[in-house]
Subunit: 496 residues, 4 copies
C-alpha cells in the first residue's frame, strides 16, 4: 500500500477499508498480460534495455504460471492486483529490473486496461450463452409452430397465437440483447494503456503497439478522457440490465404458466425444487431467482451511474467501486442464461390444455369483428360493438364460441346473419391463426419464416463471437511467443 | 374511455387514475401522421374504399391544422390521444367512414408508433444541442491550447495539463454520448405499425408501405415482440442518463472551479444567480441544477427497467408509464445542454491563477522522477522514492519547486546532482506539458491534433443528423402530398 | 429573479431552466401562512413596527384570498413562490413596508417551512385513505372468514387458507405502512423557520413562537443542519415507496386472481377497462397501473437520495429538485389507495372455485405429514418422505386427495394404516383450516381475533390522524384570528 | 437440496444457481439459537419428548461449538444454512430424534427468524460506531467553538460560521440517523418464529415462549404477513442509505476542504494514501470511498424494493435475494463510520486559513444589510440593494471588507454614513458570529448549548443501545442455561 506522499504504510483500518484484492482476483492474468505487452513496447522503444526486459518478463511468466495454477494469492496489504504483481516481479527479478516495470504507466490506466481485457472476454462468453438460449427458443418454435394457445394482453385472453409465435417473440427480443452485448464489446475493446496518470507521458511510448499486443481494436486516445471515463462499464451494465429484464419476463411467464391454474407447461423435475415442509410442492425456484435477480442487475447499473455523477475528471478513489457491480452482473446473467436454457430445453408443454383455453374465453372475437368489417362492410367500431354484445350475451349464459349455433342466432337477430359453417371457421382458433398472415403475424407460415430468419441472424452473431475470440486468442499467442523469444535471448528490436 | 367488455364508461375515479392525455399531448401530430399513413395503406390494399379514405383523410387534415394551432385539446374523458383523434375523425367524417379508421390496427401498435416518431425527432434535436456544446468546448480548447493548470486526481494536484487538454477531454467523452444517441435513434427508427394487438391481422396489410410513409428505416417485424418490447425507450433513456452523467461532471467542475478558493474561472453574470438575503453572492445555480438533475434521469431509466421487470409478453397497462419518464428525461437533457453551452461560451478563464497553482504544489514531481529514470538510470520505484523525499523536505520548509536551488542542493546531497538550469526546465509546468507528447497526452501539439480530429468527428455527426432530419421531413412531405392528392380526388391505387 | 450579486435579471434560458413555479404552486397558501406567522413574530419581538406589520398582513390576507380563489398565478419570471408572494406584498403594501417582510429569514429556511407544512397535511390525508383501504380488507375478511382457498408459495398451492386470512394479512402489512406514515409525519412536523440562510441571525427572533403559530410540534434547532437536511423528504418518500410496494403486491394478486385461469375473483365492470380492438376484454388496468406506478415511487425515493449524495452542507440549488419527486409520489399513492379501495369494495369473490382448487392439488399434504408425526410418532422428515411418495403416486394416476380410499390403501401398504374417516378429516381443507389455531394461523377463530385487533389498531390510527388535523387547524385558526385582530388595529404586543 | 416433490436432488447447475450458503454463513449461530428455542418450546408444549429434545439439543450444542470455532462449514450441496444445521443434527442425533427438529416450523419462518436475530445485533453495533463518530464531531466542536470560517451556500461564501457550528450540524443530522437505526431495530426485533410455511400450524405451539427465549420484544402475529413481509429489511436498508448519504456529505467536505485550494484542513498521513506514480500526492481515498459507497447502499435499498414489487403474498424464491444487499450495506456502513471517525479524530485544522477566507470574500455582507434595516430603518430589500452595490464596487477594485475606510466612504456618498469603528465591528466575521445568537445560530454560546444537548441525546442513545444488548445477551444466556439443564437430565416441563 502506498501511503501519503509515498510512505510505505497507512493505518490498518484504512487498508481494510480501501484494499480491493478480492474484486481484483479475476484480473491477475490480465494484469500480467498487460504488463508483458507494456514491457515489450518499452523495450522496443528503447525505454527499457533488453536485459531488464528479460528479467521482468521471466518474472511475469512465472507469475502467470502461478496465477494459472492458483498459487498467486493477492495479499490485501498490497492493496490491489497491480501492486501485488509488481511486488512479485520486484521480488523475483530484483529491484534494479523490477523497479522499472512501472515506467510510463500508472495504476490509473492499468486498472482499466485489465478491466477491459476481462470484460471483453466475458461479454463474448455471455454472447455464447445467449445464443444457446435463443436456440432453445427456436427449437421450441419449430416443434410448436401449430400449437395454439391464447395470446394474452393484460394477462387476459386476447387473440389466439401459437407457442411457436411466442417462442420466436422471445428470440426476437433477445436478438436485440445480442446487438447490445456486441456494442458493449466494441466500447470495451479499445486500449487505454499509455494514458498514464491522466496526462500522457514524456517517454516515447507506442500506444498502438501495446494495443495490438493486447488484441484491442483501437486506441482510446485522450489520456484524461480515458482515465476519467467509465462508459465501457456502464454500457456493459445496461446491456446486462436489459437482458436480465428480458429474462425476467421469460421467468414470469414460466412461473405463471406452470401454476396449477394455468397448466400450460410442467417443469422437468431436474429444474424444479421442493419444500422442506410441503411434500407435494414442485416449485419454479429457478425462474423466481432469475426474476428477482434482474433487479440486482438494475441496481448495479444504477450504482455505477450514481458513482460517476458529479465526479470531476481525473481518477478518484470512488472509481474503484466500478468493478464489483459489473462482476456481479456478469455472474448473475451468465448463471441465469444457463439455467433458463436448461428449463426451456426440458419443459413439458401441454398442447391440449392450450387449445382448450383458446376455445374457452372468446379469444377469436377480433376475428369475427374483422369479418364483419370486410364482408359485411360494418365500420370497425360498429363491428366492435356488435361482437362485444355477443360476448356479453354468451358469458351471461355460460357459453363460449363453441356454441356456434347460438352465436349464429344472436347475429341473425341483429340483422347480421352468418352461416353456421362460416361462423365455425371464423371462431375456430386454429383456423384463425392460419389466417393471421400479415408480416410478423402469428400464422405458422410467418412463424416458420421468422424462425428461419432469426436462426440466420443468430448464426451471424455466433460467427462474430467466434471471430472475436480468435482475434483475442491470436493476440495472446503473439504476446506469449514474443515473450518466449525474448526469454530465449532474442533482442526485442529484432522481433517487433 | 372503453369500459369492460366494450362498455362506454367506467367509474370517474378510474378515469382520473388511468387517463394519459397530459403525457399524450406531444403525440397528437404524430398520431395524425400515423393515421394518415395507415389510411393510405389500407386504401392501397383495398381494405378501405377511396371514398371512405377521402372522408377520413379530410378529417385528419383538419385535426392536424387544429393541432398545429393549439386548438386540438385532448379530452381526459376520452382517455388518450388515440381515442381523441379517432373521436375527432368520427365526429367530422361520420360514423360510417370514421368508424373504419381503426381497421387492422390496435392502440397497442399505435401508441409505440407515435412514441417512436416523436422520440426519433427529439433524439436528433438533442444531437444538435450536443454538437453545440462540444463546439463550445473545442473553441475553448483552441483558445487555451497553452493555458497551463494543474491536472487533478483525487481532487489533488497531479500533473500539469492545459485547459485545452481538459476541454478536449470533455468533448471526447461527449462524442461517445453522440454515438449512443445515434444508436438509440436507430433502435427507435423502426416501424411497429401493423403489429396490431399482438398477433398481426388477417387483413392484407402492407407494413413496408406504412413504414415508408412514416420515414422509418425498417419494419420491426414480430408482432408480439413489437407490442411487448420497450427497448427503444430504455436505450434512449440510457443514452440520456450517460449524457447527463457526463454533464454532471462538467457541472461539478464548474461549481468548484468558480469558487473563491479555486478561482480558475468566473461565471458570466448572465449565467449566475444571486441570493435573496446575501447581496454579494454569485451562485452557479445552473451547474448545480444540471448536477442535481442527472440523478432525475438516472431514476427515469430505472423506472422503466423496473416497469418491465417480470412483465409477461403482450400489452399491459403498466406500459402506459413508459412515456412520461422519457419525456422528462428529454426535457431535462435538452435544457441542460442548452444552458451549459451558454455557461461555457461566456465563462471567464483566469490563466494567471491557473499557472500559479501549477507552480505551487509540486505537480511536476512525476517529470523529475521520469528524468531520473531516463537520464540517471534509476528504477522507477527508486526515482519515486527520491522525489517523494524531496517533496516532503520542501513542504516542511514551505517551499515549492520554484526554489530550484534548494532542490538542486537536496538532490546533490542524495548523490543525484542535477544542474540548476536543467532542473528548472524539468520542474517548469509549461516546459513539462510541452514534453508530454505521447499519443493522447497534454502537449499543445497533441491537443491541437485531437481537437481537429474531434471537430471532424463532430462535423460527421452533425451531417448525419441533418440527413436524418431531411429523410424524416421528406417522408412527412410525401405523406402530405399524397393526402392532398387524395383530397383533390385522386384514387390511392393510382398514386402509390 | 435575483441575478448574480443582486442584479435584477439573468438570461432567459437561465430563467426557464431554473424557475420552479409549477412545482411551487401547491405551496402558495403555506408560504402565506408562514409569512403571516413570521410577521407576527417579528412584530412581537420589536423587529417590525405595528404599522408595517399591519400593511404587510393586509397584503398577505389579500394574497391568501386570491390564492384560495385561484387568482394568484405564480409568474415564472419571479422564479419561485417566495419571490411571487413577496412581490405581491411589495406591490400591495408598498416598498417601505413590504420590503421588510424578508427580514430575518431566507429562502433557504422558507422553502422547507412551506414544504413541511404541505407534506405534513398530505401525509395525514394519505393516512385516511389508507384507513379506508384497510377497512375494505377487514370487511372482506369478516365476510370470508370461512371461505377456503389454496394458500400459495412459489405461486403453487401450499396449504389451505381462508380469504379472510389473506385479507387480514394485507391489512396487517398495511398497518406497518400506517406506522411509517406516522413517523414521517413526526419528522416533517418540526419548524425550520428562523434558521435563515444557514447561520441564524442577529435579530432577536423567537423561533418557538413561529413554530407554535404554524402548529409545528417543535423547533428543528440547528440552523445549518436544518437548511442542509432533507430527511423529512426522504423519510416520507420511503414510507410511500414501501406503501406502494405493498399495494403493488395487492395489485399483482388481483391481476392473476381475476384471470380466466385462476378465476378466484371477478372485477366489477366499473373497475375494469376494455380494449379498442378486442370486444370481449375486461382488463385489470387499475391494478396494472398500481403495480407499474410502485416503481415510479421507488425511483422518486432514489432520486432524492442521489440528489443528496456528496452534497456539502449548506443550501445548493440541487436541492430545488427535492420537491417534485415527493409531490408525484404523494399523488400516485393517493390515487392508488383510492382506486384499489374501490376495486376491493366491488370485486366479486368465487368461493366455489376457491374451494374446488383447495381440493385439487394436495394442499393438505402438510396436515397429513403433521398427523403422522403426532399420532404415528414418525419424525417430521420421515413423514415428509411418506406423504411426498403418496402425492407422486396420486399425481401419476390423475387423482387428488378426494380419492381418500386410494390414499388409505397406499398408506396401509406402507405400514401406516389410517382409517378412511380419519383420513377424510385430515385431508379436507375446510377441516384443516379449522385446526390451524396457532397464534396468527389461518383458523377462522384466529382470523376473527386478528381482524378485531387490526380494527382497533386502525381506529387508534384514525383517531391520531384526526387529532393531528385538528391541531393543525387550530394553529391555522389562531394565526388567522391574530391577523384579523391586527388588521382591526390591535397591537401585536398586546395580543401574543 | 430438496428436489421437486421431495426428491433428493436436482440438477447441478440448478444447485449452483440456487444455493445460498455464502450469504448464510453469518446466520449459522442464529439458526442454532433459533433451533434451541424451538426445541425447548416444542418439548414444553408436549410436542417433543424430553428424550428426543435432549438428543437434538446435544447435537445443536455441538454445532454451536463448531460454529464458534470455525469448524462448521456450510455445504453448498445442502443449499442453505437451515438444511446444513438440520443435517448436522440428524447425523449427530440420529434420524429418529433429529428428524423431529423441523416439526411445526418451515424454512419460511426460520430464515426470517435468523435474519432478524442477526440484523438486530448488527444495528446495535452500528449504533455504537455512530456514537463514536458523533463524539468525534462534538469534540471537534468543543475545540473549535470560536474558530471562524466562511459558511458556504452554493459552495460560495455566504456568512461566517464557526467550525464548531459545522461540527455540531453534522452531529445533529447524524442523531436523526440514530433515531432511524433505533426504529429499524424495533421493526426487526419481533419474532416471526411459528408462522410456519404461511398458515400457522395445528401443533399447539407457544410463539410467545420462543420469542422470549430469543429476546424478541414481541411476536409478529399474522403468519401470512410475517412470511411475505420484508419491511424489517427495507427499513434497515433505508436507515443505512440515509446514514451513508449523510456520511457522503461529510466525505465530500473533507475532500474539498483538504485540497490545496481550500486548505482548511490537512489529513493525517495515517488516513491518507499516495500515488504509484506521483510522489507528492496525499490523497483522501477514504473519503472518496465513503462518498462512492453511499451509492452502493442506495442501490441495495432499491434492489430490495424492486424485489418485492408485484410479488404476491407467500414465500417466493425471489425473497432469498433479500439478505445479501443488507449484509453488504451493513459492512459498508460499519467500515465507513469506523474510518471516518479516525479521519476526524486526526485531521489537522487550519484556523488561520479559515479566518483569512472569512475576511476575503464579503461574507459579512448580510450583517451590514441587517444593520441598515435595524439602525437605519431601510427595508430589507433596500438594504440588500445598497450592500450589493458596495460589494460590486469593492470587487471591481480588488478590495475586501478589510478596507473599512473605503466602505465608509462608499456608504457616505449613498447617504448612509456609518462611523468607521462601527463599520469595522459590523464587518468583522468574528464579531459577527458572536452576534448570531438566535436559537440554533452560529454564536459560540449557541454552539456550546447545542453541543451539550447533543451530547446528552447521544448518551441517551448509547444507554439504549447498551440496554438492548444486555436484553439480547440475557435471552441468549437463559436459552443456554436451559439447554445445559436439559442436557444434565432435567425435564423441560419442570424448567419453563
Amino acid at each position: 500500500m502506498i501511503g501519503a506522499r509515498g510512505r510505505d504504510s497507512a493505518h490498518d483500518a484504512v487498508l481494510n477499508y480501501t484494499e480491493s484484492t478480492r474484486t481484483d482476483e479475476r484480473l491477475a492474468l490480465y494484469d500480467i498480460w498487460g504488463s508483458q505487452a507494456h514491457v515489450l513496447m518499452l523495450t522496443r522503444q528503447g525505454i527499457l534495455s533488453d536485459r531488464h526486459a528479460r528479467d521482468i518478463l521471466a518474472a511475469l511468466e512465472q507469475a502467470r504460471r502461478d496465477a494459472q495454477t492458483g498459487r498467486l494469492t493477492l495479499e490485501p496489504r498490497l492493496e490491489d492486483v497491480h501492486m501485488n504483481v509488481e511486488r512479485y516481479v520486484v521480488e523475483s527479478a530484483g529491484k534494479e529490473a523490477g523497479g522499472r516495470l512501472h515506467t510510463a504507466r500508472s495504476r490509473n490506466d492499468q486498472v482499466i486496461t485489465d478491466a477491459r481485457l476481462y470484460v471483453r472476454e466475458e461479454l463474448l462468453n455471455l454472447g455464447e450463452r445467449l445464443v444457446a438460449l435463443c436456440r432453445a427458443f427456436l427449437d421450441l418454435a419449430d416443434a410448436h409452430r401449430e400449437t395454439v394457445l391464447p395470446g394474452y394482453t393484460h394477462t387476459q385472453h386476447a387473440q389466439p397465437i401459437t407457442l411457436g409465435f411466442w417462442a420466436t417473440a422471445h428470440a426476437s427480443l433477445l436478438l436485440d440483447d445480442a446487438r447490445r452485448l456486441s456494442a458493449a464489446y466494441e466500447t470495451a475493446n479499445r486500449s487505454p494503456l499509455g494514458a498514464c496518470a491522466l496526462a500522457g507521458t514524456d517517454f516515447p511510448t507506442d500506444r498502438h503497439l501495446t494495443a495490438r499486443l493486447l488484441g484491442f481494436a483501437s486506441v482510446e486516445e485522450h489520456a484524461l478522457a480515458v482515465v476519467s471515463g467509465r462508459d465501457f462499464i456502464a454500457e456493459a451494465l445496461f446491456a446486462l440490465a436489459m437482458l436480465m429484464t428480458n429474462l425476467s419476463r421469460v421467468a414470469a411467464e414460466l412461473i405463471y404458466w406452470t401454476t396449477f391454474e394455468f397448466g400450460l407447461m410442467t417443469l422437468h423435475d431436474d429444474y424444479a425444487l421442493g419444500s422442506s415442509i410441503m411434500p407435494q410442492k414442485k416449485n419454479p425456484d429457478i425462474a423466481e431467482l432469475a426474476r428477482g435477480r434482474a433487479g440486482k442487475v438494475h441496481a448495479r447499473l444504477l450504482e455505477v451511474l450514481t458513482l460517476l455523477k458529479g465526479l470531476p475528471l481525473g481518477y478518484h478513489r470512488d472509481l474503484q467501486e466500478d468493478k464489483a457491480p459489473l462482476w456481479e452482473a456478469l455472474d448473475i446473467t451468465a448463471g441465469s442464461l444457463n439455467v433458463l436454457t436448461g428449463v426451456l430445453r426440458t419443459v413439458r408443454v401441454h398442447p391440449d390444455r392450450m387449445l382448450d383455453l383458446a376455445w374457452s374465453n372468446f379469444c377469436t372475437a377480433t376475428e369475427l369483428a374483422n369479418y364483419l368489417v370486410v364482408e359485411r362492410h360494418l365500420s370497425f367500431r360498429e363491428a366492435h360493438g356488435l361482437v362485444g354484445g355477443l360476448v356479453a350475451w354468451l358469458a351471461e349464459r355460460g357459453l363460449t364460441f363453441r356454441a356456434t349455433d347460438a352465436c349464429a342466432d344472436f347475429l341473425a337477430t341483429r340483422e347480421c346473419p352468418i352461416p353456421v359453417e362460416v361462423l365455425k371457421d371464423i371462431l375456430d382458433p386454429v383456423a384463425a391463426i392460419g389466417r393471421n398472415r400479415s408480416l410478423g403475424g402469428t400464422s405458422p407460415r410467418e412463424v416458420e419464416r421468422m424462425a428461419a430468419a432469426l436462426r440466420r441472424a443468430l448464426d451471424d452473431f455466433a460467427a462474430t463471437l467466434r471471430e472475436r475470440k480468435q482475434a483475442i486468442e491470436a493476440a495472446r499467442v503473439q504476446t506469449s511467443a514474443l515473450v518466449a523469444k525474448v526469454l530465449e535471448g532474442a533482442s526485442v528490436a529484432a522481433l517487433i
